[in-house]
Symmetry: C2
């Protein structure tokens, strides 16, 4: 199913800068990109934010949700109990076909739990996976799992690789995406028990599997899709974030340490600005939750208006490209996958 | 046992820049720091390198080893079969009390396998662990395991934390070192099965356990000792290396992109030099292999003379501080550890 003029449901209440930056992002996306956005949240709050913008774009509507799941709440419990939460209401819009995708910068665990609960899993997918886009090199790498599944089985990694390849092909137009396994050495004989078994499965998967890559290769985009378990994946993306913060902080500190350096640093500001843009997660919106029966994108909790607008654009592109059908089509390639379920697996 | 004037056995044949940089490092350490070094390797090769230095320092001796384990050889197999290899000969010097520590920048797996084979494990330690020093923040963090054990059990992590704390206390003089568990969230309820169980054990260990830290905290030295399994640890240190290379490369590229930037960049050279020194692994020598019956330090394959000299200094400090006794004393704190063995566990 492809949607020519899709509607994207947006969690107006989720994220560190909700609702202001979220609503602003919706306004930008609707005005500048012509995207239809259904803002889901407390009506009076959302309307008050919308009133801050002079020209309310035509494509923005508001859908009432009376409750909010806070960032620190227990994900599965909150998703189950708060039926009126913006996350739950937004996902139900997708379930009922009233929206084509859902975007949230809120409680990641709650969005994942609610998506599995209300949308169900794609047939043959044992565990849905949250993916992140690594934008550093000239080309994008899709990196997964980034935290949905702290413990993984080898078969999960193969399913994630298949969905990731379908996503990169459909949404980012990469022909026959390359797939790599994150490991502690390039040789086939390297790795923990999980990686060793996953290597064998990936080799026989029919995917464009190029073998193992190491941590040092991750920033350089050596594959279109990089798979690992959700514990390692989460630690890696956060380590990259930490190192970027650390080094840029050190560069700033060095420049500030002497007046003459400061002058030179000022001259370099545009160059540093360009670099900063390159390592800026906001340019690439949100990561797809792959393997649920609906298009769901989860943004960074720190998302500002620009990040939200990017996320809405990616969600729109995914809906127009028929990403969900492409994900579902990976299923016949798998032997003996479990049937789709609508309950979250513990 | 503390050694007032220790002798450090050094693998002259191991590392990407062996033997030239290794021998040069030994000469520097002996001449500038008064360290006694036994260079282990092919006599004629080592002597030829020594002849390049005008004033051969008094403290440098040569011990013959007829064979070499190459970087790409199968670690355990090579360690078992090549009895005359510099790695094996050097470790035997430690075993026989003719040297107080062994330093190598050679095949990491082979040094670990040979160390377990020839020195045996410390009583109560299930698996020795290779540690790395993260030098980025004002203070040092000891990070382990960085690749000796791709699969780990919760009890290993506790033993590694105990040894790591003993090391930071004895060699780096940190009073009551803080210990943290690398995890995917700060809350006790976060993590994979390994981390969840390790958290409980660490809480009850009597160590100065400060809880979980995330990947983004690693560069900032938020704990004196950070423990994780060898798969995650290896991926993390290599990701940090990759990110540092990536960002510094981008900064260089940005500066070179316009003549005016280049001029400003030239002015900033000293500031960047200071930063580079800070992220330079060579300042901190080599990582200790903790849990074997002898002092063993493994350096980066890329080690140059400066890195080797630093490694020799750290090994000398460790021998003088009685590090091995401190490691052995962590054993009574553990209940039901296996007895020491002399065979490598698979």
């Amino acid at each position: 199913m492809t949607a020519a003029d899709p509607v994207i449901a947006l969690d107006a209440m989720g994220g560190d800068h909700a609702p202001r930056e979220i609503v602003k992002g919706a306004v930008i996306a609707a005005r500048d990109l012509g995207i239809k956005v259904a803002l889901v949240g407390r009506t009076e709050v959302v309307e008050a934010e919308l009133a801050r913008h002079k020209d309310r774009p035509h494509g923005v509507t508001v859908v009432a949700a009376t409750d909010i799941i806070e960032m620190e709440e227990h994900p599965a419990q909150a998703a189950r109990q708060k039926k009126g939460a913006s996350i739950v209401v937004g996902l139900k819009l997708v379930k009922e076909g009233r929206a084509d995708a859902f975007v949230s910068a809120g409680n990641t665990g709650a969005v994942m739990a609610a998506a599995i609960m209300y949308l169900g899993r794609v047939r043959g997918i044992e565990r849905p996976s949250l993916a992140g886009l690594i934008p550093l090199s000239g080309r994008l790498s899709l990196f997964l799992d980034v935290g949905a599944n702290a413990d993984a089985r080898p078969s999960y990694l193969v399913q994630w690789a298949q969905m990731g390849a379908a996503y990169m092909n459909k949404v980012w137009k990469v022909p026959r995406p390359t797939v790599a396994l994150l490991n502690i050495g390039e040789e086939e004989s390297k790795g923990n028990a999980l990686a060793l078994e996953a290597y064998g499965l990936l080799s026989r998967s029919g995917l464009n599997f190029i073998g193992n890559i190491e941590g040092k290769d991750v920033p350089f985009g050596k594959a279109d899709v990089i798979v690992t378990d959700g514990f390692t994946g989460n630690v890696v993306v956060k380590t990259m974030e930490g190192m970027a913060d650390y080094i840029m902080g050190q560069v700033r500190g060095a420049i500030r340490s002497r007046p003459w350096y400061m002058l030179a640093g000022l001259a370099l500001l545009p160059a540093f600005g360009a670099l900063r843009k390159k390592v800026d997660y906001r340019e690439y919106g949100a990561g797809p939750l792959l393997g649920v029966n609906g298009l769901v994108f989860i943004g960074h909790g720190r998302s500002d208006a620009k990040a939200i607008a990017s996320a809405l654009r990616v969600a729109r592109d995914a809906a127009q490209a028929g990403m969900l059908d492409a994900i579902r089509e990976t299923a016949p390639a798998r032997a003996g996958g479990r049937p789709s379920g609508t309950t979250a697996a513990g």
